[in-house]
């Protein structure tokens, strides 16, 4: 019983944390079709901005919001200067975003140095002991925040005119343009928002991981699996299911084997799923 509860709780937490880390990619890749190899660098940048602002004495909550804003602005600039000329050319954007990763990483090294940086747990203290499960406080807060961010975005996406426009844009770019939507502005908005979400996630997860110039790499491949497994463009169900399949499942599998085998098994299952459902589990297209 105790094991069951703790495995379940761990699975939920891991799924949500991974969903948070992958969400920026789900937006950019899912909605604009840009294969964003710079997603990891955006996470890393968010974490470094967070570290730096905290170091300047800014409190934690404004810090992560400012980090999200800053990475969002970097994303906007990148979109405006380069990406907007290459929509609909996936391979070109793949190279461009890879270049973004390389340049950003080097700039981070020059500006912030190559040493590990430490972001202290803003809540701190011991986990809350519920008897059958020790609740890690900060991770739980992150998970709840992830849920709020993903659900909030989905709400905008499905229930507002803005959402309708974005969906129209992703479904048929030309038609949406002909019907009078400012497609260029919509793409810019979506790209910037995706970048900001990656920055937010990077800042929020910084206290849980090593902050170093290649921090985002850990989540880059996993995020791509999350998005493709869940279904490209499936922001809510797709991201959550994909995160469970890539993150949560590993914890369950690790119960029966060791970590190495569990990780291999997860990616093996992911490949099998994509073989039979290349459009992703939740995609209707």
């Amino acid at each position: 019983m105790e094991i069951l509860v703790s495995v379940l709780a761990d699975t939920v937490l891991i799924t949500l944390v991974l969903a948070f880390a992958a969400f920026g990619l789900a937006i950019i890749y899912g909605l604009t079709g840009v294969i964003n190899m710079g997603h990891g660098a955006m996470l890393t940048l968010g974490a470094y901005f967070t570290w730096w602002l905290l170091d300047q004495g800014v409190p934690f909550v404004p810090t992560v919001l400012l980090s999200a804003l800053a990475v969002g602005l970097v994303g906007l600039a990148f979109e405006h200067l380069l990406i907007r000329h290459f929509y609909g050319r996936p391979f070109d954007t793949l190279l461009l975003t890879w270049a973004f990763f390389l340049v950003t990483t080097e700039v981070i090294k020059i500006v912030f140095g190559t040493d590990f940086r430490n972001v202290a747990d803003p809540i701190g203290g011991d986990p809350v002991n519920l008897g059958i499960y020790q609740v890690p406080t900060y991770k739980t807060v992150v998970a709840l925040l992830a849920l709020a961010v993903v659900a909030g975005t989905a709400l905008v996406f499905f229930k507002t005119t803005l959402g309708v426009r974005v969906r129209a844009m992703t479904q048929n770019r030309e038609m949406a343009g002909l019907l009078g939507l400012n497609v260029a502005a919509m793409y810019k908005l979506v790209f910037g928002f995706g970048a900001a979400m990656a920055g937010l996630a990077g800042g929020v997860i910084a206290p849980m991981f090593a902050v170093q110039p290649y921090m985002g790499d850990m989540f880059l491949v996993r995020s791509f699996f999350v998005v493709t497994i869940g279904g490209i463009g499936q922001l809510l169900a797709g991201t959550l299911f994909g995160s469970f399949a890539i993150g949560g499942l590993e914890t369950v599998l690790a119960l029966f084997s060791d970590q190495v085998i569990a990780q291999i098994a997860v990616f093996f299952i992911a490949v099998i799923v994509l073989r039979f459902r290349p459009q992703g589990v939740f995609s209707g297209r």
């Binding site: 944390v17 849980m208 090593a210 790499d217 850990m218 119960l255 970590q259």
Partner: protein, 416 residues
């Protein structure tokens, strides 16, 4: 040191960009010009450093340790009347590039010997190159020791080891740890050779002391989540977490271990978290961890004080040094001493001169290169991370010191 490389590359690139034949000729011709103008031909040492890529965090101390030593040697008049020139190559933590750069340094840059590489995988990649070209490689990192199976990465007469192996890094403190903190070990490490062999040695000694290994877990590189391991640790109730994760995984694990409130329930002994990693952990997460190595910035040996003064004067008061940087520092000085002793810059002569060579000014205390298996004899320190540390300068406190530790004989065809 990156600037060094960049300026070299930058200038040649600028020259090429001009796109003029004359510029091209000048670039090609410049080495000859420099050689003729220099008072004496420099001794060239190729340094393979992970300045970018996964081991970036170690790159700075790694290359700076060597650079500082070269500067000291040249300030004192060089070797055999010739200055030493360090030719830095960034292999980007990529083993393919280790091979490429090692070959380039030897064939094109015409270096006289090589130093560096960081992980065992990097060194093993360089092994065949230095064997074929008959050049020396001075290797600075703590590692798993030499076993014949991995020849020519180890057990190679051309490779000299300046970092400690497990019987030097772990064994001296096993009795103390078992006696004071319990004999049930939970071993967690990254999934590759160094942690596995380190654990093999540790288990051997632990069995001798009547202890027990309750679990031995290996984690793939770049793993973000440790929940299942933490649960397993709680269930198996060990006394000591014996830890050999590397890179960012060690930080990820320790942070989640601490967030799960487990620091107070278990003794944490790591053989990986030197200054670089512990800085990444921060004072809260790392407080109370035991760490063992041949060098720490906070050891009280008089050599260290003088060394750090010179180091921090050059690189700043917050610059990190660690066991690897000191390995590189010793490698440069001992390489120079060996060349001086040999009287000529020739592989076989330097190799013979390095054997049994002593270096009294090593930052960790006097060290000596064994002739039998090319393994350094070093001091070994068990430290505890000080609660509430503020910088690398007050990070660790000494728990136990062994001034000189002979390694177990390498499992090679000896003597090398």
């Amino acid at each position: 040191m990156t600037q060094h490389v960049n300026s070299r590359r930058g200038s040649s690139r600028r020259a090429v960009l001009k796109g003029m034949a004359a510029a091209g000729v000048a670039t090609i011709a410049s080495p000859f010009v420099v050689r003729k103008l220099a008072a004496a031909d420099p001794i060239r040492i190729g340094v393979l450093s992970p300045v970018t890529g996964a081991w970036t965090v170690y790159g700075a101390a790694h290359s700076r340790g060597f650079e500082l030593a070269v500067e000291e040697i040249n300030a004192a008049g060089g070797v055999l009347g010739r200055p030493i020139e360090m030719v830095l190559a960034d292999y980007q933590t990529d083993q393919r590039l280790v091979v490429e750069h090692a070959n380039r340094l030897i064939r094109q840059e015409k270096v006289d010997l090589l130093a560096g590489t960081f992980s065992s995988a990097d060194r093993n990649a360089a092994g065949p190159v230095v064997k074929a070209a008959d050049k020396l490689l001075l290797y600075p990192t703590w590692y798993e020791g030499q076993i014949k199976d991995y020849y020519p990465g180890v057990c190679n007469k051309n490779i000299f080891m300046f970092g400690p192996e497990p019987t030097q890094q772990v064994w001296p403190f096993m009795e103390y740890m078992v006696k004071n903190h319990g004999n049930k070990f939970y071993m967690i490490g990254s999934d590759y050779a160094w942690p596995k062999v380190t654990n093999l040695f540790t288990k051997e000694k632990l069995a001798e002391l009547g202890g027990e290994t309750v679990a031995e877990v290996y984690i793939p590189f770049n793993t973000p989540q440790y929940e299942s391991v933490l649960r397993d640790i709680r269930e198996k109730k060990p006394d000591i977490i014996f830890h050999s994760l590397t890179g960012s995984d060690t930080v990820n694990f320790a942070q989640q271990f601490h967030a799960a409130g487990m620091n107070k329930d278990f003794t944490y002994w790591t053989v990986d978290d030197e200054e670089v990693v512990t800085s990444g952990l921060g004072p809260e997460v790392s407080a109370g961890h035991f760490v063992s190595f041949d060098y720490f910035m906070t050891i009280s040996h008089p050599n260290n004080k003088a060394f750090l003064q010179r180091y921090q004067a050059k690189y700043g008061a917050d610059a990190l040094m660690n066991t690897v940087g000191v390995g590189m520092y010793n490698a440069a000085h001992m390489g120079a001493l060996a060349i001086a002793k040999a009287g000529k810059v020739e592989t076989a002569a330097i190799r013979e001169a390095l054997k049994e060579l002593e270096f009294a000014d090593a930052p960790q205390g006097p060290v000596k290169m064994r002739g039998l298996d090319n393994q350094i004899v070093v001091p070994s320190y068990l430290m505890k991370v000080r609660a509430g540390w503020t910088s690398v300068n007050d990070m660790f406190e000494e728990v136990m010191t062994v001034p000189s530790v002979e390694p177990k004989d390498a499992r090679c065809d000896l003597p090398l």
